[in-house]
Symmetry: C2
Subunit: 173 residues, 2 copies
Amino acid sequence: MSSETRWLNTEESAAWVRLVALAELLPGALDAQLLRDAGLTHFEYVALMALAEAPDRTMRMTELASRTNATLPRLSHVARRLEERGLIRRFPCPTDRRATNATVTEAGLELIAQAAPGHVGTVRASVLDALTPEQLQQLYSIAGAVLARLDPDERLAATSCQFSEGPTLARAG
Amino acid sequence: MSSETRWLNTEESAAWVRLVALAELLPGALDAQLLRDAGLTHFEYVALMALAEAPDRTMRMTELASRTNATLPRLSHVARRLEERGLIRRFPCPTDRRATNATVTEAGLELIAQAAPGHVGTVRASVLDALTPEQLQQLYSIAGAVLARLDPDERLAATSCQFSEGPTLARAG
DNA sequence: CGCAAATAGTTGTTGGGACAACTATCAAGA
DNA sequence: TCTTGATAGTTGTCCCAACAACTATTTGCG
């Protein structure tokens, strides 16, 4: 076993408590706004967004799960619900009959196009506007260092920019 | 309505994506280790720890809920489960018959004393050891700035040090 | 070819958290 | 005093995520 436990000193404890509080509150705040304004959880929003920005607005379930940091069972349940609401479609992959492809429908694109401004507003109001440009850069580095520990495979690192002024959502509107 | 949406620029988007990934992965990592090694969720661990460090190892349900950033219904359910496991006891407050006090039992103290080293190890391995002292200070400031937006009442700010080398856990052992 | 192992996905069950509804008690004021 | 409103807590219901079990297909290899 390990030697004597190295307890946290004052600075470590203070930073840790705040980080835990942040990790606890942030998901709820994101879900609350999106559910209220668009009837989507944050996870559903991210999944639809990932599909919207994929080539042909289509992606393999496994790849989508990886990009959104979800297990395949979780994504499967969510995909069923989204499909029932007409926001995505699923169809078997022609080249690999084990696989399933998912596509955002027009209704799905319209929904995220409608939801995006409010979501970005929440992101700014609750996080980005509270930080200086230096802190934004620091946050990037710190989160990167921690993710290297928490997510060694860097599945999430592959997540593309979800907020570009890009043409995807413009087309969707 | 608001004017044109200010979409995120490259730096903002990159930092945001990482922060979301961190907030998504961290709670699961903490729960996983504690559940595996002590049969406790991270929330249960924090609640027990808060009670262990309270005067008389006792706290009002409302205050405990506030310190752990839980709604009262959530805490009530958790408290019932912890009480069924013999880790806490609940009894009516003598001075206010609406209120309930919760106390950690000896078994509860023993469990967290046994769980604490592993938990601190996980905290170090997954977060603290990945950061420089400067980054630790930056994280403290950044999280503080964001919490001021997410948690304006600063309920969590009152959370005391949960990791001191302090005598509380020593007494518990 | 044929079989074992790995991969892709779905489904069922379980457990926890959010929310609403409810009871009980306290506090403030006419 | 009595009555209104606020406070403290519990309970019930619904929804979502974790996990395990399962089917189906593909791949690797003898």
